[in-house]
Structure formats: C-alpha cells, structure tokens
C-alpha cells in the first residue's frame, strides 16, 4: 500500500470510529439510533425558537458595523471558540489516555507521524462538526431573517473550529512538557471545564463591578470598552466581518485556520508517539493515600458514607465540575457583596443562579454515588438492605450540596432573610428532585463512564435540566411574584411526576 493510500485508509478508519463514538454519545445502545436521530432532528428544529429569541434582532446588521456592534459579535464568536477549545482539549486528552488501540498502532510498522496527523485531523473534524451542528439553528435564523449573506457564518464556524483544535493540541502537548503526563490529565480536565465558562463569567464580573448588573452587554457596549477597541480595519474584527458576509475576509480566516492546523500537525505529529510512550510509562504511577491507618468504627451506612465522601473528594471530574459551579457562583456572590453597600433590585437574580447550580451539581453527584458504583457486586452482597444503601448514598449528595451552598445562603441572609429562606428551600427541592431522577433512572455503571451518563437515559437528562430550571424560576418568582411561583412550582412538580410515571424504577 502506498503512503497516500495508507493515509486514506487510516483516515477512513478514524472517521468510522469518530462516527460510532459520536453515535454512541447520542444514541447509547445500537437499537435506539433511529429514535435518537429523530429526537435530535426534532430538538434541532425546536432550538430555532430560542435561537430566534436570542439572535433574531441581529439579522438586519449590515456592513459597515460600528465599534460596539463589532465588539458584541466578536465577543460572541470568541465565546463559541472558547467552548470549542474546551471540547477539543477533552478530545485530545482522550487520545492520549484512552489507550484502546494505541498499543496496536505503536507496535505496527505504520508511519506514526502520518497516523497521528490523521488523528489530529479527526479531532479537528469532530470538534468542527459538533460546532456546526450546534450553530445551525442560530445561522438558520440569521439566514431566514437577514438573507443568504449570513451563510458565511458557517465558514466562520469551520475556521474557528479548526483553530480551536489546533490550539487545544498545542496546549495539551505543552502541558505534557511542563507538568508531566500524570498531572496533565487532571489539569487538562479542569482547564477544559473552566475555559468555556471563564470568558462569560469574567464579563459578568466586570459588569457587576462597573455597572451593578449581571448583563454582559453592559460591558461590551460601554464607552470604556469602545475606547480601548482597535481601529475598524483591525484583523481582530475579521471573524465578525466574515460572519456578516465579507467573502474575502472569510477566505483569509479559513486559510488561517487550515494553516494553523497544518502547522500543528507538522510540529506535533512526530512527537505524539513520544508523548504516548511517556503516558504509558506513567500509567502505573503511584499515588499514595494517607499513612494513618486507624480503622474507624461506626454503622454500616457510615462506612458507605465515608467511602462515598472519600471517592468524591478524589474524583477529578468532580473537582473540575465543582470549580466550574463555584466559578458560576462568583458573579452572584459579587452581586451580594455589592448589595451590602447599595440597595439593588438585581440581588433577586442570585436566587435562581444558586438554585440552578445546586440542581445541576446534585444531578452529577447523585449519578456518581447512586449509579457510578465501581464495586457493585461487593455492595450488593453486603449484609444490609438495598434501601439502606440508597439512603446512605442520597445522604452523601444532600450533605455535599449543603456544605457547598450553606455559606452563600448564610451570606444572603444578611442581605435578605426572606430571600435566603426561599433560596435554601429552592436548593433543597432542586437537590432532592435531581437525586430522585437519578434514583428512578439508575443504571449500573463505572464512575469513569460519567462522561456518557446522559446516553443511559436522555429522558433523565432532560427531566433533570427542566426541573433545575423550573425550581430556579419558581424560587425567583417566590421572591418577586409569589402567585406566579405557585404556578411555576406546580408545573415543575408536574414534570417531576411525569418523569416518575415513565421511569423504569417505578415498580
């Protein structure tokens, strides 16, 4: 087989693997694929409505744009790029650590630089493909409302997708060199989790500190930012100009993205093999536990709780996820701090943010404790009834959420006791709802399968998200329009009841 033919053959193999992995993420088991694809199409169609609400008003924008318009569009594109970068870092890390076929590849007589070039291209392709899929409703809205010139926004998505993949590879390989393979996995996970949210949160923090509002646009459209913005012909505005239909700039952008990816492939592909070998060499690196070995007494449930807390504390996903949740809580915490000095109606916004964060974190924690049991046989053969095992695990979720959110609610009590009580109730109800959904849809899985927890039941994922949003809205309304809170609460309870009704654990 010639070198070109081998490359094509391996590219086909990689695309097939990427496709199947993507389908597994979407559909879970094989039999559900058709239904999952139909659901995805329906979901994409429905997404056009919120897309219209968010972006419809920008459809009439025409060149030449003024500075505030350029800033808002550029910031939005940068946010999308940051999210793609986050996903790409995770994909690159998986290539190094999920070593299902690396032994085979490394022991084969194939040219490893070529093999890893194809693998880098596959990462870029999957990141860009996912970005295209998610951006389609938004671009569609712009095309329908503002004309075909907005089709060039797809080109911008491709260009930033390629560059995000290229930068992700550079960052990950740099992390390998700087901190070594054993720490890179955790750090890369944290970087990936934080990087997407970081930009939005930074804008919110700036908005709160400068204008006392959670709105990011207050900062982006301010005179202060415009004053620091570069000239209108700066390359910084190229993505924005390309998005509204500047064909020449778009072709420069796409060429730039391809060039960047090509350069990364040329520089890093020959070193990938070396990196993989280093990862393999440290795969059995030793991590020590505490030297103190005194066994603790207590009940059987206490043993279970202690084990769960220990595992949660040592879970890298949870660390990155908690960091992200805590980052999301920085803006409301800042709002709270400002409200001590000056009375602000915006403080009401803190309640839904806290309740939503609690619901989301509780969902993840509940999956890890209830479904993610690595020694399922051991726990199942232990001499205690399953109900007590479940109870101990739910207690762990409640205690963890309590420890994380109690300080914030206590601080809120100094600003408004009523709002603190409502927020506390919202956190409790959102946490119990998330735990209940995970309990009704529980499956036996390894903790390491957390990334794919959504595929075990899409219904549970949606129910969890809708309940978090519902309880967040109910809590916010309880502070402002109590009668509306009753309706919102009843609707959310209805969602929960329907979820229970159709759950597999109902019997």
């Amino acid at each position: 087989m010639s070198s070109a033919a081998a490359l094509t053959w391996f590219a086909r193999h990689e695309i097939r693997l990427a496709w199947r992995e993507w389908m597994a993420m979407i559909a879970g088991r094989r039999g559900k694929r058709k239904r999952a694809i139909i659901a995805l199409i329906v979901f994409a169609a429905v997404m056009h409505l919120p897309a219209y609400a968010v972006i419809g008003r920008f459809a009439d924008l025409e060149a030449p744009l003024d500075t505030p318009e350029l800033i808002v569009i550029t910031a939005t594109i940068f946010l999308a790029w940051a999210l793609m970068l986050s996903q790409a870092i995770e994909s690159v890390t998986r290539v190094f650590y999920a070593r299902a076929d690396l032994d085979l590849l490394m022991s084969s007589p194939a040219n490893l630089a070529n093999v890893f070039s194809v693998r880098i291209a596959a990462i870029a392709l999957s990141v860009t493909g996912m970005a295209l899929l998610l951006s389609t409703p938004f671009v569609d809205v712009l095309v329908f409302s503002g004309g075909a010139r907005w089709l060039s926004a797809f080109g911008v998505v491709i260009a930033i997708g390629l560059s995000a993949a290229a930068v992700a590879i550079a960052i990950t390989v740099a992390l390998f060199r700087l901190i070594g393979p054993s720490r890179t996995r955790l750090v890369a996970q944290i970087v990936a989790a934080v990087i997407g949210a970081g930009f939005v949160i930074a804008l919110q923090v700036a908005a709160i500190l400068s204008y006392g509002t959670l709105s990011r646009f207050a900062v982006l459209t301010s005179d202060a930012v415009s004053a620091y913005a570069p000239d209108l012909d700066s390359p910084l505005w190229w993505p924005a100009r390309a998005a509204i239909g500047d064909g020449m700039v778009l072709s420069w952008l796409m060429a730039g993205g391809l060039l960047l990816l090509g350069a990364v492939m040329a520089i890093f592909s020959p070193r990938f093999a070396d990196t993989v070998v280093r990862v393999a060499a440290t795969a059995r690196s030793v991590r020590h536990g505490p030297r103190a070995t005194a066994f603790r007494g207590g009940s059987r449930q206490q043993a279970l709780r202690t084990k769960e807390f220990l595992l949660l504390r040592r879970d890298p996903w949870l660390l990155s996820q908690s960091l992200m949740q805590l980052l999301y809580l920085v803006p409301p915490a800042l709002m709270l701090w400002r409200s001590f000095s000056e009375s602000s109606a915006a403080i009401v916004l803190i309640t839904p943010v806290i309740v939503m964060a609690a619901g989301q974190l509780a969902g993840g924690l509940a999956w890890l404790t209830i479904s993610g049991e690595d020694a399922a046989d051991l726990v199942a053969t232990a001499p205690l009834p399953p109900s007590r095992v479940i109870r101990a695990k739910i207690e762990v979720v409640l205690i963890s959420i309590g420890v994380i959110f109690a300080p914030l609610i206590a601080a809120l009590a100094f600003a408004s006791m009523t709002q603190a009580i409502v927020t506390a109730l919202g956190v409790i109800v959102a946490t119990i709802s998330a735990a209940a959904i995970q309990l009704w849809f529980r499956v036996q899985a390894k903790r390491s399968q957390f990334r794919r927890r959504q595929t075990s039941s899409r219904l549970a994922t949606f129910a969890e998200a809708f309940c978090s949003i519902g309880w967040a809205a109910t809590s916010a309304l309880a502070v402002t329009i109590p009668i509306a809170a009753v309706i919102s609460g009843a609707l959310t309870a209805g969602i929960l009841a329907v979820t229970w009704k159709i759950s597999p654990q109902r019997g």
């Binding site: 991590r287 603790r296 007494g297 690595d374 232990a382």
Partner: protein, 262 residues
Amino acid sequence: MVHSEQLDRSEIMKADVPALEVRGLTKRFDRPAVDSLDLTIRTGEFYALLGPNGAGKTTTLRMVAGLLRPDAGSVSILGIDALADPVAAKQIMAWVSDEPMIYDKLTPLEYLEFVAGLWGVDPSVSETSAHQLLVSLGLEPHLHERCEGFSKGMRQKVALAGALVHDPRLIILDEPLTGLDALSARHVKGLLQERVRSGCTVIMTTHILEVAERMADRIGVIAAGRLVAEGTLTELRQQNGRGDTSLEDMFIALVDAEAAAA
C-alpha cells in the same frame, strides 16, 4: 483472623447443617441458564464447580450470593433461607468475582476498612486482620498506594482480601486465579486452604482443572445448567469407569456426552 486452633475437618464436615443447599434452582434468560439444579455442599468442604463456558456456573453462584433472583427454587446457607432473609445470609458469606471490582481511588487498606465497615466488623479486629491478609498476599509494599495503578493480579488479591476480612463462613469464588502469576496463585491457594482447615467452606469455579484436582474435596461438573457428575476425584473415576484417568479427560468425556445427549 484464622482460628489458631485448627478444627478437625472431618468433624466439621459431618455437621448436620450443610454450608449450601440448593433445591430446584432455575434461571432462564433466552434459554434455561440453570435448570432445576440440586446441590448440597457440606460445611468445611472445598468444592470445585467445573463446566464449559456458558454451562451456568456463574449464574448459579450469583444466585447463591444474592446477585441474581432465581425464577424458581430455594437456596439455604448454613440453614438460613437466603431468599427469605438475604441480609442474614450475606452476613456469613463472601463473593469474589472473576473481574475484580475495587475502587481505583482507594488504597488496599482503605478498601478493606470499607468492606469491614459494611459487614459491621469491630475496627480493632478488622484493622489487624486487614494488615495480616494484605501482607500474606504479598501486598505489603502497596498498602498505602491507590489501586488505580495496580495490575489485574494485584486487584484480584485486594478483592480476595476484602472477601476474607470479615471472616465469612462460606466463600464463593468465581475464577479467582484468573490473571494471577504462579507465586500469587500459590499465595491465594494457600490462604484458601488455610480457611478451609479452620472450618470455612469454599466453593470455587475454575477452568484450571489441575487446581480442582489438587485442592477440592469434591468436584461438581455442570453442563447446560444441570449437575452431570459429582463426587471426589476417586468417586468420579469410579462413576466413569476410568480408574486412572486424569480429571481433564473425565471432564471432556462428561461434557462431550452431555452435548451428544442434548
């Protein structure tokens, strides 16, 4: 943990109450996996359950351990009805699967502390026995290392130590020697024989017929969910009219005969 006073095995095995009594045990998936199985294992006995792949060995043992609900039949463990009172039955039993299920983020000592806590063992007792077990299995240098970097053999030894730390009276092992090197396998076999000498009952499935031949007091051969032969090695030879043949030859002949009959 192991009783210092070694009991007289013949006396233990004569005990009225069998360690395990299974009657009419049945489990169907797409086809019958276990088909009205009757099995009696005496207290203090080392029993090897053999059979080809898919014969129903693991399904049988998983039902005994309370991991699968049988479609029909009864399971009695040292006189306790395991289906009516599973908690009491589990208190005196341990299960080790062929795929060691332990927690990557715990050290072997932390794992054993957790297991001992689940079985309600006094910490002062379990701490000492945990150390002894891990040392006897050659894991002393790794007591404080997280299990995430362990080989399959090391993980299997940690799982086995977990099964023994609460001093069970019935130990059920599904292919416990898979993935172990010769030295580790010898450690494990020694530990199990020591337990049997102290009055514990061991039921083990294995594909290594030599192990069954050397270690088991009695051997049961299961095929298509049914017990097709049972007895000591000598009894099996007599039943098959092959005075000096090896267990491997007998096993193949029994399985072939069963396949031909089906």
